[in-house]
Structures are given as C-alpha cells and as structure tokens.
Symmetry: C2
Subunit: 392 residues, 2 copies
C-alpha cells in the first residue's frame, strides 16, 4: 500500500452538496476521504456560497447526465459510494438510480460495491427536507449497505419514538428487519437519562449494529464527551470517515486471516469463505460478538478523529471570533457599519438585527471544522473511546 | 503553526473548473492546497463528468452571485487567490472583477493579498479558448502578483516567438515591463536546443523571474528530467503548489529576519522594511540575486513534489492500464463490446473507431495523477533539482 494510506486502492463516488467556503457536504467529505488515500469522484448536487445563501442546484437530469458521462468514459468502476444531502425528491431519486445501477453491476461479485447512505432529512425533531423526500429515502435504505441516521432520522426510518435505550435498540432491530440493512450507525445519540456517566460533564453516544444472517441486531455504543459548541459538517465528516475506516477494518480483518492461513500452510486464496471483502455487504459471521465487529473498530477510529478535530476547533474558536470581529470593525469604519449584511436584504432591517445577524455569521465562520490544519488527526487518530455493550 | 503545515493560516479563493472524476482544475488544486494546510474556498466555474464530456458551465452572473454570497457572510477575507481555467470571456471578466475587488480591498495593507493567475489559453501552439479570452487575460495580468503561463501562453502575453533562450529572456523582460507583473514562472519550457544536458535523456525546464523595482528581470531556471508520458492536470497542480510554497518561502525569509533581529536585540516588529510579507507583491530587495529569490525556493519544492508524483504515477500506469483492460473485457462479454463508447454518439461509429476511443479513454484514466496515494510527496518533497542561472 502507498505511504500512510490505511486502505487499498479505493474508488469512491461521493454525491452531496458543494459549498464554496466552509466545510460541509462534499467539501468536507471529499477532503476527508482523499486525505486517507481514496480516489474520490465528487458529484456535486448544488453549489452554494456558504450554507444556503446564494448559488444553484443541479437538476435531477444533470445528475443523471453527469453519471452517464462517467459511464461513457469507463469511470463508473466504483468500489464504494457515499450519498449525502440531495435537495428534493427528484434529485434524490436520480442519485438512488445511480446507487441501484452500481449495485446491479456488482451482482455476482459479492462485496465488490458498498453503499454508505446518509439519509439527510432533519435533526432534533425538525424535518429540513420536503416531506416527499422521506419515502424516497425509505425505498433506498433497502439497497444500501450502511446507513448513518441521526437520532431523529432513525425515528423516521423506524417509525418509532426513541425516548430511552430500549426504544433505541428496538428502532435498530426494526430497521435491520424492515430494510434488511446490514450496518447501522446512529450518530449523536442523546437520551434524557444518559446510560453512561463518568462524573465528568455531558456525554454523547454513537450506537452501531451489524445484523446477523437472520437480521438480529448486534449493537454496541461508544460514549464520548460532548463539546459545548455547535459545529456544522460533523455528520458529513463522520460519514466520509466511516466509509474509509469500515473498508480499513474489513481489510485488516482479511489480512489477519490471510496471514494465519499462510502460517498454517493453507491456501489463502480470495474465494475463501473467511474473507469478508468478498461477502455481500462484508457481513461478519453470526458468531462474531458486537464488540468485535469491523463496524465497531471503524467507529472507534472515526470518533477519535472527530474528537481531536472538534477539540482543536473549539480551542481555536475564541481567538478566531476576536480576529473576525476586528476585521469587520476595520471594514465597517471604511464602508459604514454592517453594509455587507444589509446588502441583498430589503433594506428595512434594523441596526440591531443586522448586528445580530453579523455576529451569528462570524460565529458560524469561527466554528468551521479545522480539518486542513490537523491532517494528522484524520490520518493517525489515537483511539480513546472504545465500544461497549449497549445494555438495554 | 499546526502539525506539518508549511504556511501560517492562509485563506485562499480558488476559481477554476470542477470535474467529478479525475484530477484537473480545482479538483487537483483544492486538494493540493488543503493538504498543505490552506483553508480553500472553491468556486467552481464548471462541473463536468470528466474533461469536457458532459456537464454544465456556471454563468458569469452565477460567479458574481456566488462571490456576493461570500461577501454577505463575511467570507471574503482572502489572503490569496488562484484563478485557473474559466470558460469564455464573460465568465473570465467576472472572475477578474473578483480579483480586482480583492486587490482594492487590500490597498493600504501591502502584501495582505496575493493573486496567482494561471492564464489558461492554450498549449503547443494551439489556442483552446475563444480568441476574445486573450485580451481579457492581458488586461488582468496587470493586476496579478504571479502569473504562470506555459511557453505558448508566454508567447501570447509577450507577443513574441520563443525560439531560444534569449527570446525566452526577452519575453520575460517584456512581460515585467508591459504588465508590471512582479513574479513570472514559465512552465514546461522546451526549446529545440536544450540549454542544459546531462547526458541522461530529455529534460524540461521551468524558468522563473521576480522583477526589481525598475522592472528588470531576475531570471533562473530549473532543469528536470522529462517523463515520456502525457499527464493532465500538471499545470493546475503546479500553480496550486506554487501558491503555497511562495507563501512558505516568503514566510521563512521573514522568520529568519525576525530571529536575527531578536538575536541582535532589535525590535522585530511587523512594520520592519525587511519583512517581505508586508511589502506589495512580496518583492525582494533589488540586491537579491535571482538564485536567492523566494520564487526560486518555491519552484524547487514544487518541482520536487511534481517529479515524485509524476514518477509514481508513471510507474503505476502500465499495471493500471492492464487492470482497466481486464475490467472492460469482462463488462464487454456481458453487455456486448464497447457499448459504453457507442452510447451517446450517432451510432454510426465503426468497431475500430470505438475500440480506439476506448483505449484512449483507458489511457487517460491510467494517467490520472496519483496525488491521494502519495500525500507525503506533496507535504514533504525532497528537493533534487536546484535553480541555476538562466544563461542568455
């Protein structure tokens, strides 16, 4: 393998939004996967300046055309796909068709294509896509290999309310059964009575499960300290890193098997039934415990990277806010206060409102994840938080 | 500074094309700069599948709107700008307006904004943009800090024919005088009588110059072995790395001055006249020799990275071609030969033509620069080829 790359050659199709400035959607996902050695084809579903301010969407037809363009150039040889935010049901359907086509193409070559689907629908009880997007996601989850809903999205997919750990376990079981979805990670689980307290501040959990051959859940959780700050793009970064680390964990598992067989003088050929990478959805044997799943190993590494980058971002934040405040003050003294904010609105906004908006923008900017300054946290994270059993 | 980042916090606006698959334009430039720690805002002027097959352009108006969106969110605080391929004169003019506005904003704060302009017009005697793009570039070069024409583009900008070293030196002198452009790098110089032979295969040169206060050229060359293979995206990668390494070289120069002053017990404050980063266009003193320019240090590092990545790409290429051949053969046996190529044409193409086109596509794919597998070549290149005097 090439220097420092945790995975063998991996060609990924990443379908999500593009922002000019900032780190959300494909902007953060593509860099995360590239920095870990993946060859990423980035199909951008929108181009916005920043969040949803100005810019334009790519139509369902354009998404289909871009994919056809890849096919015509023999560039549809993807090992994995990551699909994230897609605006609107027609565009999501177009993205779904791409996933389905890649799945079909891989039929007869089990494990040769793996689809990570981030069902971006909402958060904290609020839907932020059109309601007709929900049934499209529900139809696509049947075909994905790994889904990464947050707690609210898991509620939508399972049609249950997640109020405690046993409801959470139930939601996971429902999703495995209903959609036959092999791997699930529920990100940022926050329950009223945290199931794990170490006496040192608030925590969050990630809960994961890989199903058995008869669709039984094998669930684990990883508890980590919550950082009191709102960051954008964490879900996209999490999904992108999970894609890479899942492949790494499966690859490492298989390398171990190969080495052991070699030591025992056995043939270690690719068709061996012990090799996960040639199994449909890379599913572990039923005998494998939740805590020994490749999914658990992957999630531990991803959380380590996330925690390092978030901590460093938070440490830098106060200074960053002060810096932008000074810059804006300097600009204001030249051009008249908060002109930048007023421009583009109907002009009737009050000075207070404009200042409030300005501070909000400055804080958002200071909360941008500092990935590019902490590449080693992506590449060589130190695992601090280990998977434990999800006690129901 | 953060781990392994060669530059202080650097916020870059990169304006160029986006391809879903492959490594050209912003796709290669953004990753190159991010992997060296830059916070890059990526404004994509097109989204194509791959080269110019399918996809769409972003209009001049959309480019302007995207930039306005950044301003409204206080996200126009750029330290540097890289502008590359822009399709058509109106869009290029829109990009030029952004550069001019950022220049204006930086007036009174010398050195606080640095514009790297890659005047993408053609190569090897062929114009591959509309003829009305040429005068737009000529008007913009006046305002840039560093331009990176290839040999043909240098001919267009200087209105001279570059047939030998003295014509090359002349073209550089003309550009410095006509446009008052401070820094020039001419990439991939290939002259009929190579001015440097080490008896070991063909070579290429990069020729650079930083002008003096009276617009005299200070030219150097760096000679390196040519690799017999056509790669796409090398110009874009070169420009992106030059942007970062130029800032690094100037920063290192300034740090050395600061340390020396501190040792001598002098005040090392920012306004010192010895500090390049607070001078317009980071221009070195007239007394500085061509071989001691930050531009020369930067170009040496960039060429080291380029040579490592190109060498590794070429080494991998034959294997990559064999691999895709096998894949296509497998696909053909299922779906009927070369269907993928035929689709989208008028259907009248002969089998030979289709096969020829297929082989061309496969070779292009195998020639994609393998940046993501060789991150350390970007981050920690070993300088092998040093700047020498351009002897006229």
């Amino acid at each position: 393998m090439s220097e420092g790359c945790p995975v063998p050659e991996t060609r990924v199709l990443a379908v999500a939004s593009h922002v000019v400035s900032g780190y959300v959607g494909n902007k953060i996902a593509v860099f995360s996967m590239q920095s870990l050695g993946c060859d990423v084809a980035a199909l951008n579903t929108v181009q916005y300046s920043y969040r949803q301010w100005t810019g334009s969407r790519v139509s369902a037809q354009e998404i289909t055309d871009l994919y056809r363009g890849l096919k015509q150039s023999y560039l549809d040889d993807f090992d994995m796909m990551l699909s994230g935010y897609v605006p609107g049901a027609p565009a999501l359907e177009a993205v779904g068709q791409i996933g389905l086509e890649l799945k079909r193409k891989a039929k007869g070559k089990p494990g040769s294509f793996f689809w990570v689907l981030d069902p971006v629908m909402g958060d904290n009880g609020n839907l932020y896509v059109a309601p007709d997007v929900v049934p499209v996601y529900k139809s696509l989850v049947h075909h994905a290999d790994l889904v990464l809903p947050n707690q609210f999205e898991a509620e939508l997919l399972s049609d249950t309310k997640i109020t405690d750990v046993s409801a959470l376990a139930n939601a996971i079981q429902i999703m495995h059964e209903r959609y036959r979805i092999p791997h699930i990670i529920i990100t940022s689980v926050s329950l009223p009575h945290p199931d794990h307290q170490e006496g040192s501040g608030p925590t969050l959990s990630v809960v994961g499960s890989t199903m058995t051959s008869d669709s039984r859940a094998r669930a684990f959780k990883i508890v980590f300290p919550a950082i009191d700050c709102y960051f954008s793009g964490t879900g996209d970064m999490f999904a992108a890193l999970m894609l890479v680390r899942m492949r790494e964990a499966v690859w490492e598992h298989d390398q171990k098997i190969r080495r052991r067989k070699q030591e025992q003088g056995q043939n270690s050929d690719r068709d061996s039934n012990d090799i996960l990478m040639t199994r449909d959805a890379w599913l572990s044997d039923d005998s494998v415990d939740a805590l020994d799943l490749p999914l658990a190993r992957a999630a531990e590494k991803v959380l380590a990277s996330m925690h390092e980058v978030l901590t460093k971002t938070a440490e830098n934040m106060q200074g960053a806010i002060e810096k932008v405040k000074r810059e804006v003050a300097a600009a204001a003294s030249e051009e008249g206060l908060v002109d930048g904010v007023k421009e583009g609105t109907d002009g009737s906004v009050s000075k207070e409102e404009a200042e409030k908006k300005m501070m909000h923008l400055l804080k958002s900017k200071a909360a941008e994840l500092r990935l590019v300054r902490h590449l080693d946290s992506l590449r060589f994270p130190k695992v601090q938080f280990k998977a434990t059993r999800l006690e129901v």
